[in-house]
Symmetry: C2
Subunit: 418 residues, 2 copies
């Protein structure tokens, strides 16, 4: 008998009507004779409401108690969904992190799952009862509630799917799959039928907010098929596991994908900020001092460009940090001005990182060259470049975002035939 | 070392500012060197919000899942209050029903506490850490969350206070004590410094919504001193356990109260409805049929009056039921019309039960007579009468409520000297 894990995000559970729609998907899969486990996020807005309450407290926030607070959101949605199913006559029961239990370490707010006890879940299969598991939460060996960090319900779902060796993990959300680009920017973007774990990882970390990066890594390690699909496609009827090609996007091993495009998608991220230090002494050790200090402060530096200035003595150093860290990075570097000896520190958040991603790059050359040529034709200046085996990223001014993504989408033949 | 249990109701925790005020009371008691346990309700409005969500579900509500849902309210307030205390530098930790654990039976929605494990609470005393316990909730031996019913946080507080043999249980609420009458109706009502368990039980069950009846019973069984006091009295400074006479109302044994008034207070309840069956056959067995059917339907009948009609053949039967049950009672009696054989069924919610309460009645006669005389002087018709050892209740038209309570308050010398 096949086993399916179904995960519903906050927008899919935003109110009782939407929960009923989610219950319809669950009922359909259950009626196929599948063994079903459901993982839920908190109702849309609920986690924010709780976090805002906590943020009104002055002084240091105790992260352990914060976990007790925000885990209550998933507790409520799990109970409500179980109630809806039971009212329909379908056997269902809610399970909280401490009840299964889902054991984690005790890094409150960003805990990692150590072990999932499968006994109750398997008992429930035998009782033909659907387990509705509260996502995002676990319990430490000190008997305290932990949470897995934002988007952690994806991780809960995929960890449970791996533990019970599910055939597939369906992530129900408010989009009907992973697209070749953000459809709000590129109307000709196409849904990908399949995408490899590696590509999805790059897309996730580069700003496509469909799945949490950690959950994709977890799925990749176990070779679990993950499907991203919409809760709101009610016209989907004939979608059993064997005939799922046309629904959502499957994230799977590279070799399960028959037709590879060279580039699978164009991603962008606005969560970056640029810092430029001008007229640095072009001495060995200066870069180590700059980046060493930032690393000590826990600030991740992503892209780095160093321009040799005309006189050969001085250099300008440009790099990016997470936008949320720019203030802290600025303070840190200004306090080091005497030892680093630069002229000016220029900071800007008006930049965006645009990336082309595709496992096909491994065997095709010219992908980066086409990117630079396309942007140059549109008069877009590239501020920095970073590459990996399967992606090329450039930093550009945010004003060029739309035209850049659109023209790259066309250049790599990703536009949908209209 | 003395031990105090402090319970805060929903209005005392309605937002972060009010929680800070509650934290101020906790800090004051802790700084006296007392061993402190705190019990919390959900933030005001939160339980209603969750119940309303559940009520949108069509079909039968699963009571076990409903408990998972609504217990999340106390979970959130316990965590927030612990965070506020820790941010002030006071060691505190939240405890949920399953964590201590507080074992209950599995009557979901109205569970009874079977056992409270004191180990963690006593460990926390030794660590000088304040335990913030989520009220209203427990756990069944099936490892499922249970709740104790509306007002159940009072019961949690008093049960825990009894278990750890606390010296006092302070119930912090939005009123500064128990009054001789509802101050909204009787401006001359006075706060009672002390009131006996028996009187408080009558007041609670007759409509003074200060404490849940079950919690008073529990306190009475153990002889625990319970004090009702206001969270919002910030001017209270010098209130240690030995000098508490002037704060709130203490509920205690009758013999701890030195000066007894004959009547301690006037209570009223609007939660009643009246049903009259006219021209019943005055046969033996008819009353048994009427009240037997209602009892089988789980409807509590409170006051009963039977008028012998002039011709001696027929009688009118009047009785009261909870206002929430009048519809059900009416349907039930109409379906029995053939066997009962009455002329008309007259129902009304425009009635109120007014009661005078006092342990002094045991040794004083004339209390009921004064009540009837006072109401007669105001031209108020008495529809039904019920008495117990320490109270006299009458049923009157709701339009007379204010004048009845005010004139009784004066008649029994309860008016405050202004």
């Amino acid at each position: 008998m096949k086993t399916i894990v179904m995960k519903f995000g906050g927008t899919s559970l935003a109110n009782i009507d939407r929960m009923r729609q989610a219950a319809g998907h669950i009922e359909r899969e259950f009626n196929k004779g599948l063994r079903v486990i459901v993982i839920v996020s908190a109702m849309a807005g609920e986690t924010d409401r709780l976090v805002n309450l906590a943020n009104k407290i002055e002084g240091n926030l105790d992260l352990s108690e914060r976990d007790v607070l925000i885990s209550s959101g998933e507790q409520a949605s799990a109970a409500l969904l179980a109630m809806i199913l039971k009212a329909k006559g379908i056997e269902a029961k809610s399970w909280l992190g401490w009840q299964l239990p889902i054991k984690t370490d005790y890094m409150h707010g960003s805990a990692r799952i150590l072990n999932i006890d499968k006994n109750d879940l398997e008992d429930n299969f035998n009782k033909h009862e659907i387990s509705i598991v509260a996502g995002f939460q676990g319990i430490s060996d000190k008997n305290r509630i932990t949470t897995l960090g934002r988007g952690g319900s994806d991780t809960s779902a995929i960890a449970i799917a791996c533990a019970i060796e599910a055939d597939i993990c369906d992530i129900y959300t408010d989009v009907d799959g992973v697209y070749t680009a953000d459809p709000r920017i590129v109307p000709k973007a196409q849904r990908l039928e399949k995408v490899s774990y590696e590509e999805m990882l790059e897309m996730a970390s580069l700003g496509a907010k469909v799945l949490q990066t950690r959950s994709v890594e977890l799925g990749m390690t176990s070779g679990l098929s993950i499907r991203v699909r919409s809760t709101f496609d009610d016209h989907v009827i004939n979608d059993n596991i064997n005939n799922q090609k046309s629904i959502g996007t499957i994230i799977c091993e590279e070799d399960e994908i028959l037709e590879h495009k060279i580039v699978s998608g164009i991603a962008y991220s606005k969560d970056e900020a640029k810092i430029t230090l001008t007229k640095l002494n072009d001495n060995p050790g200066i870069a180590a001092l700059v980046f060493g200090s930032l690393a000590d402060g826990g600030i991740n530096v992503d892209m780095i460009v160093q321009n040799i200035s005309s006189d050969g003595k001085f250099t300008d150093l440009t790099f990016t940090v997470p936008a949320s860290d720019i203030k802290r990075a600025t303070v840190m570097l200004e306090s080091l001005k005497n030892s680093i000896q630069y002229d000016k520190l220029l900071g800007s958040k008006d930049i965006v990182k645009v990336s082309v991603i595709g496992v096909g790059m491994r065997s095709h050359s010219g992908v980066a060259a086409l990117m630079f040529k396309t942007l140059a034709e549109k008069g877009i200046n590239i501020l920095a470049i970073a590459t990996s085996e399967i992606k090329v990223s450039v930093l550009i001014d945010v004003q060029h975002l739309e035209i850049a993504v659109k023209s790259l989408h066309t250049a790599y033949n990703l536009d949908k035939n209209s």
